[in-house]
């Protein structure tokens, strides 16, 4: 008999387990099923930097949070409604986030004396009454999985046990009425070379689903209706994938071959891996010996007329600084992607932060201006990559693209863009026109110098890091020339055309929230919450950090108070105060986690 179906508007689920338990895979599959249902969604994979921390230990816990809804949402959710805890360590580290009354599903088989001890539990929390405030579903996941798979030939008990994440996925898929076909197809493809393993995983998945249907422990099934998003074709996308596609699109739009120089580093590596797959687009990827060589090779390729790109995270960006300075002096196009992570030094490699803003703006010797752009959402990384390339190629300058670990790994539904309407990027290489070639003559509008690539007859010339004479580009130590060249480089970057700052104004609001980069979702969700509570607040989100949009000062001065929430100690706020003499206040947290909508709403309300 079918169980009753209860309607929900939105749900936040967190899967948590050992880093070897396949929580990221489980979360990813549930995300795909949810996307195919047509819900709006946002994800937050949260995992340790260690690939396999000691089994059962607290530092080894890996989590994946997914928020899905029948309306448009902006964040992976402040706190889960449902927590799936695959062992005591996962329970211990995640329970504090689960509100009382929330649903807790645990694998009772994992609550052995040894695992309890590793998690620091004196008593078994399943038995000591400490979980009374929550709706606990204690399920012997491992036993049931192993039991279901024992008749499949060629599957060891250890392999059967490893399929328990698919049992959990099946159970959750039933509980929220998710479509199952895509997961079954995925498993059959993933394990195509080991049919027994494929069969085991599919069986575990189906068994979990059937368990939900039949077990008395689950009295109701839930339904979250599709969200009313803008009509069109959708897929889910992470920031790093969108960014990779954006770079390929920029290559197409400019007609220039894409050259990526990169050294593996978390959380940027997946851009290198993604681009390495797309040789059909003429993409050359170069895994360099170090970060310096990665950016050097990209600059060398740019000198030869390619779209040169390098990707990294904070520690690598620091190493690239000298070469970026050279690109400033050479005035050659270069895109530098910084997928920010928590620091200083190695910091917390898998955790997001916005701590590199001042680094990329000022972290080079002398006066060395570079345009800086930061995408707002995972999907926005596509457009931001195109914009970064457009500015680099148009103005012949290095451009910093500031993503972060939250955008890089987080997924959201993405309306597949119609690439035929993307604006081409006009690039003209210099040609000999008779007379002496002036490598440092400038376009009157953009102040860009000619891009004369090797192979062009008659334009043989030398560039270098030594100061150059205006126009001729010859080495020059002339004092006035140095002053002029310094001014010209600054003017060029200051003159980069960027769109005006858009304001989501609310009538009567005298508080403006000014955010930038990857915090857009949580900050705007917080703004919505304030409004839902009857408060009045305006929100503006900066994508260009250098130069600032021309109307930035006017926007800031039209509000009584400006709140700048950042995942750092106030880097944009410092710039705003210096640049516009606006007495902005900050909301600053550096926990390695994205903002919660609730804390933003509280910060706004505290100011009102």
């Amino acid at each position: 008999m079918a169980k009753p179906v209860e309607q929900l508007e939105s749900v936040v689920i967190r899967f948590a387990g050992d880093s070897g338990d396949g929580m990221q895979l489980t979360g990813g599959r549930f995300t795909t099923e949810t996307a195919l249902t047509g819900n709006d969604l946002a994800t937050f994979p949260d995992f340790p930097a260690e690939i396999r921390a000691p089994a059962g230990s607290l530092p080894g816990v890996s989590g994946f949070q997914l928020h899905f809804a029948d309306h448009d949402i902006l964040t992976p959710g402040d706190q889960p409604d449902v927590l799936v805890a695959m062992n005591p360590a996962a329970l211990k580290t995640n329970l504090p986030d689960l509100p009382k009354g929330g649903t807790l599903i645990v694998d009772t088989d994992a609550f052995s004396a040894r695992n309890l001890q590793k998690a620091g539990y004196g008593e078994n929390p399943l038995e000591d009454g400490s979980l009374e405030g929550w709706q606990v579903h204690a399920v012997p996941l491992t036993t049931m999985t192993v039991g279901a798979l024992k008749e499949i030939d060629g599957v060891t008990p250890r392999e059967a046990e490893r399929a328990k994440n698919m049992f959990a996925l099946g159970l959750m898929s039933w509980l929220y009425g998710r479509p199952v076909d895509s997961t079954i197809e995925f498993l059959n493809t993933k394990f195509a070379k080991r049919p027994a393993i494929a069969e085991a995983n599919v069986k575990a998945f189906n068994t979990g689903y059937a368990f939900g249907e039949t077990s008395e422990a689950f009295a109701v099934q839930y339904e979250v209706k599709p969200a009313k998003l803008e009509p069109g074709l959708y897929r889910q996308i992470t920031g790093n994938t969108a960014l990779s596609y954006g770079l390929i699109a920029a290559s197409k739009l400019s007609g220039l071959p894409l050259f990526l120089g990169a050294y593996p580093i978390t959380p940027a590596s997946s851009i290198l891996e993604e681009l390495a797959r797309h040789k059909a687009f003429g993409v050359r990827t170069f895994q360099a010996e170090d970060e310096i060589a990665a950016v050097g090779a990209a600059l060398g390729a740019a000198f030869g007329g390619a779209l040169g790109v390098t990707t990294s995270a904070g520690p690598g960006i620091v190493l690239k600084a000298e070469t970026v300075g050279l690109a400033v002096a050479l005035e050659l196009p270069l895109v530098i992607v910084d997928v920010q992570r928590a620091g200083p030094s190695t910091g917390m490699p898998t955790k997001p932060e916005q701590g590199d803003l001042l680094l990329v703006l000022f972290g080079r010797n002398s006066e060395s201006p570079v345009p800086v752009l930061a995408p707002a959402t995972p999907g926005d990384c596509f457009q931001a990559a195109i914009e970064a390339a457009r500015v680099a190629l148009t103005y012949r300058t290095p451009v910093y693209l500031l993503s972060d670990a939250y955008l890089a790994n987080g997924a959201e539904p993405w309306k597949v863009p119609d690439v035929s309407v993307l604006e081409p990027i006009e690039v003209t290489f210099a040609e000999a026109t008779g007379g002496d070639f002036m490598p440092y003559a400038r376009d009157p509008e953009t102040l860009a110098r000619p891009w004369a690539i090797p192979g062009t007859p008659g334009l043989e010339h030398r560039v270098g890091g030594l100061e150059k004479a205006n126009l001729t580009g010859n080495v020059s130590y002339d004092p006035d020339n140095h002053d002029l060249m310094t001014q010209l480089r600054a003017q060029k970057v200051a003159g980069v055309k960027v769109p005006d700052l858009a304001v989501d104004h609310q009538e009567g609001a005298d508080v403006l929230v000014l955010s930038w980069g990857g915090t857009y979702g949580p900050v705007h969700a917080g703004v919505r919450r304030v409004r839902a509570n009857g408060g009045k607040v305006a929100h503006a989100h900066l994508r260009w950090l250098n130069p600032f949009p021309a109307n930035t000062g006017a926007v800031l001065r039209s509000y009584d108070r400006v709140l700048v929430p950042e995942l750092n100690l106030g880097q944009l706020r410092r710039l705003i105060r210096a640049e516009f003499l606006v007495d902005a206040v900050g909301y600053n947290r550096v926990t390695g986690k994205p903002f919660k909508a609730g804390e933003i709403a509280e910060a706004v309300e505290a100011l009102s």
Binding site: P231, A280, F281, A297, G300, V419, P454, R462
Partner: protein, 304 residues
Amino acid sequence: MTDLKLTAKEFKSDQEVRWCPGCGDYAILAAVQSFMPELGLPRERIVFISGIGCAARFPYYMQTYGMHSIHGRAPAIATGLAVSRPDLSVWVVSGDGDALSIGGNHLIHALRRNVNIKILLFNNQIYGLTKGQYSPTSEQGKVSGSTPFGSVDYPFNPLSVALGAEATFVARAIDTDKAGFTNVLRRAAAHRGAAFVEIYQNCNIYNDGAFDFVRDAKENRLYLEHGAPAGDTGIVHDEQDFSTAFALSRVTYETHGAVPLGVFRDVERASYDELVQAQLDRSAERGVGDLQALVGSGDTWSIG
């Protein structure tokens, strides 16, 4: 070989050469400019890239494309250029500090990858531009500005380093030995892949006479010839054989009273750009990338 009828003069830029009078770099520049027409390439297809140091001024004086970059990074920058532009003849000019100290990592990786670049390492066993500190090829005990009591560093043998880094072409020449140097340039240019050339170069200001034992004393020069005995070393030279090349790299004036010059090693191995291009070509055979299909790949769903 050349229909272009270019001359050495046409490879001289309009920039005034500013090395110290008497510097070995002048002879190297003249020899390279004289050799350039032999490439049979128009000047626009030739690129010189350097790092930092006295030698690094070299590109300014060549009427080709050129880049004076940053300390030690020329092989990395040249790698990006050579891989994306296989039609160019790319030359790296470096010194012992630039190539073997701050840029050591890039040097060894460019060599092992067999990037199609020609690396000219001007070895004068001293830091010249910073006014006379010991370098990674200075002899132990070197008294210099930064080592008033003598250097305790043990030096690199540049050719042994290059061979250890899997270089496919390794040679040595002397700045003032125009014939021998030109012969090495000719062989290096003909080699498809990374060519490493060490040039004994005299810094007459901070390390004058460092190579007198072979630069002035011509009787101590041991010109290598493939297939022939290498002087009194007991080694029959074989450019194809790694052990032979390595053994010859260990022959010094101190050990044998003679210094081998010429080509130590010259073997064929697919160059990096060729291998990269081959993958691109294979991929292109399966069809050119469709951007609309790419952005719409994976699981999709329709709304509305």
